[in-house]
């Protein structure tokens, strides 16, 4: 139990070995802020890039070498749980973040520099903006911001009480709101997206916080363990508990982009700089699902007969609405956004199973989904009209003939989203469906299967465009990816194929890790 305030002050314990990866990431972010203040403009970007990448790599190595062998303990006086799922999700987040960072680094595809505006504070189209562009200035704050967000995500999936949970959510989200608004091209769209994301995001955070208060009111404890204990002491249908559960769920549904809390997804995914979109779509989703699994499986684990009906409804809505709306999209970023909504529905199918296999299948699906998502968005950055990305689908016609490799790799990711065998997406779908059938949610699987076919339609449509149509006369130029983007895409493609052909080791990892501690 948490030391209660009335019990007097107990000095908190810190298990540094368990917390080290998070501390490294946060430390890296703080050093990044200092670099921002004290390094001259010339080498600043180089230093930030190196700091960001090194921080992630070191954190990952420490996670594997130091934390993983010791997992299974509560840390920081019970506020953080470093158990199997936490380490698995933290590792996933670090890998996905590293891949996204590679896209952040890329300066080769846009003639003016990286994907970020030289200064978010200048007015779009103003003279000062033009000056900064001409001077090839970079907005290097991107790096510490992204590191803070990664740290928040890592804490989010490991938090074991309601306060840590909320703080982690904010640490993860606030930098994202900023990052979304920093696009170099189409800045007004980007700023609009940032504002929308911020407003809706804070609204949902408020729901989550309010729900947490209700849960505290019901159980008298902010720790997940405490909530679980108070549930098992056998209280019935308490309105506090019911409202609290619902409101916390709303906050999390918003973060994962589940219907009916998805309306921000297409606007934000479209407006954000594409590398940030990739980062958000992959890493944020992992973090949000990780946290969702923890609060619903740990704190509310014995309450599943009450939250599962809500999940059923949201899952079906998410799959149906996401798939159908994706069909009507004409912009590839919006299409991928709706596709990620539909994918969230498939992942929710696994969550709804409320079992160990539900947990492990969701974990696998998130890894598979993360790789394919980052890869797909990375390819979006390469097809360009003059200076900005050519995101209208009609501009992608005939790409298969002009750039067979880009088209082939994008097809691979799309087929994985569609769940075609020998790609990671198929195994993921198989696992979550299996978990759901086992958990008594067969109707969800049938809906999922039918709408997988609907979803396949819009994935296939892109393939049709790329291979079976003629390119437009003023076909967009194809940027040659730099080493960083190439590496990221190659890793994503290799991951997508490997997880589809030999998924055994990762399934093993997920199954071994799939045990929460309370």
């Amino acid at each position: 139990m948490m030391p209660h305030l009335a019990d007097g002050f107990t000095s908190p314990t810190f298990e540094y070995q368990l917390l080290a990866p998070m501390l490294i990431v946060f430390g890296g972010a703080i050093v990044g802020v200092l670099v921002e203040a004290f390094t001259p403009r010339g080498p600043r970007r180089t230093v930030q890039v190196a700091l960001g990448l090194v921080t992630l790599v070191v954190a990952f190595v420490v996670l594997l070498a130091v934390t993983r062998p010791k997992l299974g303990d509560l840390a920081a006086s019970g506020t953080v749980a470093i158990d199997g799922p936490a380490v698995f999700f933290q590792g996933t987040i670090l890998v996905l973040a590293l891949l996204s960072f590679l896209l952040f680094v890329e300066r080769g595809v846009d003639s003016a520099g990286d994907a970020f505006t030289p200064s978010g504070a200048t007015i779009p189209g103003s003279a000062s903006e033009r000056e900064l562009v001409a001077a090839r200035v970079s907005q290097t704050e991107v790096w510490p911001l992204a590191l803070f967000s990664v740290g928040g995500m890592m804490l989010f999936v490991a938090s074991n009480d309601l306060l840590t949970f909320f703080v982690a959510l904010e640490v993860m989200s606030l930098p994202l709101y900023l990052l979304v608004g920093l696009a170099r091209r189409r800045r007004l769209l980007s700023q609009e997206a940032a504002l929308k994301y911020f407003l809706l995001g804070s609204f949902s955070s408020a729901f989550l916080l309010f729900g947490s208060a209700f849960l505290f009111g019901y159980s008298g404890s902010i720790s997940f363990t405490g909530i679980y204990d108070s549930l098992s002491s056998g209280v019935g249908l308490d309105p506090l508990l019911l409202i609290g559960t619902g409101m916390v769920a709303i906050g999390l549904f918003f973060k994962v982009g589940a219907v009916p809390f998805h309306s921000w997804v297409p606007d934000v995914y479209q407006g954000a700089p594409t590398p940030v979109t990739a980062f958000m779509a992959a890493a944020t989703k992992v973090a949000a699902f990780g946290a969702m699994l923890r609060i619903f499986y740990v704190a509310l684990g014995d309450y599943d007969w009450n939250w599962r009906p809500m999940f059923w409804v949201v899952t079906i809505l998410t799959i149906v609405v996401g798939s159908i709306l994706a069909i009507t999209q004409t912009d590839i970023k919006r299409m991928l956004a709706y596709s990620s909504v539909a994918q969230a529905g498939f992942i929710l199918t696994g969550v709804t199973a409320a079992s160990d296999s539900g947990l492990s299948s969701t974990m696998f699906y998130l890894v598979a989904y993360g790789f394919a998502t980052i890869g797909a968005f990375a390819l979006v950055t390469l097809v360009r009209d003059g200076t900005s990305e050519a995101t209208h689908l009609s501009r992608w016609a005939g790409l298969g003939r002009r750039s067979p490799i880009i088209a082939a790799v994008l097809s691979l990711f799309l087929l994985s989203f569609a769940g075609i065998p020998l790609t990671s997406g198929f195994i993921g779908k198989f696992l979550v469906f299996e978990a759901a059938v086992n958990g008594g949610a067969t109707p969800l699987v049938i809906v999922g299967a039918i709408f997988s076919a609907v979803a396949a339609f819009f994935y296939v449509r892109v393939i049709v465009l790329m291979y079976f149509s003629d390119p437009p006369d003023d076909a967009p130029s194809l940027a040659l990816p730099g080493a960083a983007t190439t590496l990221a895409v190659a890793v994503c493609a290799a991951g997508t194929v490997a997880l589809g052909v030999v998924p055994g080791p990762v399934i093993d990892l997920a199954q071994e890790a799939a045990a929460f501690i309370r």
Binding site: I420, F426, V437, I450, Y467, S469, Q511
Partner: protein
Amino acid sequence: MNDFPVLSILGLLPFAAAVVVGFLPHGRELLAKQIALVVSLVMLALTVAMAISFEPNAAEPFQFVEKTPWIEQFGISYALGVDGIALVLIAMAVSLGPVVILAGWNDADDNERHRPQTYFALLLALLGTIVFVFAATDLFLFYVAFEVMLIPVYFLIGMFGRGQRTYAAVKFLLYSLFGGLLLLAALIGLYVVSARELGTGTFDWTLLAGMPIDPDTQKILFAGFFFAFAVKAPMVPVHTWLPDAAASATPATSTLLVGVLDKVATFAMLRMVIPIFPDASEWAAPFVVTLAVISIVYGALVAIGQTDMYRLIAYTSVSHFGFIILGIFAFTEIGGSGSVVYMVAHGLSTAALFLVAGFLVKRRGSSLIPSFGGVQRVAPLLAGFFLVAGLSSLAMPGLASFVGELTVLIGSYQRWPVAAVIAVIGIVLSSLYVLIMYQRVAQGPETENVKGMRDAVPREVVVFAPILALTLAVGIFPKPVFDVVNPAIERTYSFLQVAPVEPEVPVGDVTTDGAATDGEDS
């Protein structure tokens, strides 16, 4: 029996070749074609070797067995093996391999969008998936092959087809995916049931066949499996993708698609649906038989009304698949064996029809029947091929289809007399659609349309000869095929509760046509 992984080699060799062929540089088109042809011939040689060492009456269900764990957590293994039915179907598919490659030799040469290398790589990849889909004894592996098979066909239609190729390719893919995803749901259901029944979940056919499943669950799972296979087969009313696909694809693609790929569905009904869901199969049989009869008559009637040769051939296949499914769900050994022979015969006759029609269309630039007339005067050999292909399709005695059709009808008459009688209408109609088409295309005075048409070139003769030889061989002396198939069919139906029907028709009647070998088993 022997440790040589012949099935893996048979399946993986074309994939390896596809990669090589696909990456050949510009200017090496001829080499691509040669590699494809040689690989398909090597596959044929391997299959012949396999067929020779196959023991039809072995006690174990599968031979040439290979098994390696794949995803152990879910009891999934890379398990291959063939029984008589699979062997016969693989042999048919692999025999058609060199034929379609030769027939499609110049298909992609004047395609300005895509290279011949891609075309032949896709054909090879398709051949590889076909081997896996027939040889998989693990249901998960089967499903993987079943779905992956769609990808090469999709690109073959979409990239190298004509007319509404995009529409046809997408329609084909979506119909198949829709069926396939329901199959996936049912497969997962089956896995969960197997975990409850057997302790650990499995996809291994040898454990699943005959596993007790509660009747209601069985019906639901049966519905998932059957729907997927009905789309694939295709049965009325989920057949509409086939004419579109066949009309847009190249003849070589259509041959593999209609002649071989769709057999996966009827094969899977015998291999999976009946042994794993015997009670539900019996329960649903009247419904299935009704659909089959509707397919037979409707497919034939619609075929008569077609003006496009490819669409006509596609509709004849809808009718013929009705026969095959009728034979399978007759639950008599003679009907079951007959349906397998019919699968082979239909593969051959469809190949002949599509490929010869393709030769004609290539010369004329149109697949519409009215744009021909009097071909016989200018190209007698080609017209002769066309006639023989047509006769094979209408089940002329002495040709393979006759054996299949007759045994299917005998077998199904014993269990479903009314259905069998109605199905006979299909035979009558088949003479109509074939002969009317032949008459309009080939007979009559030479028309302006066909003036100067070249007769068959040597390559085309080489394409047609082996099909004709096989059709005649199976038509005149089907005993080897029945010998190989009968034990497997017997095993398939042994899972059923239904009482065997004593033959009411003296089996001796069919002796003259060689189908009497069935009598030896009964």
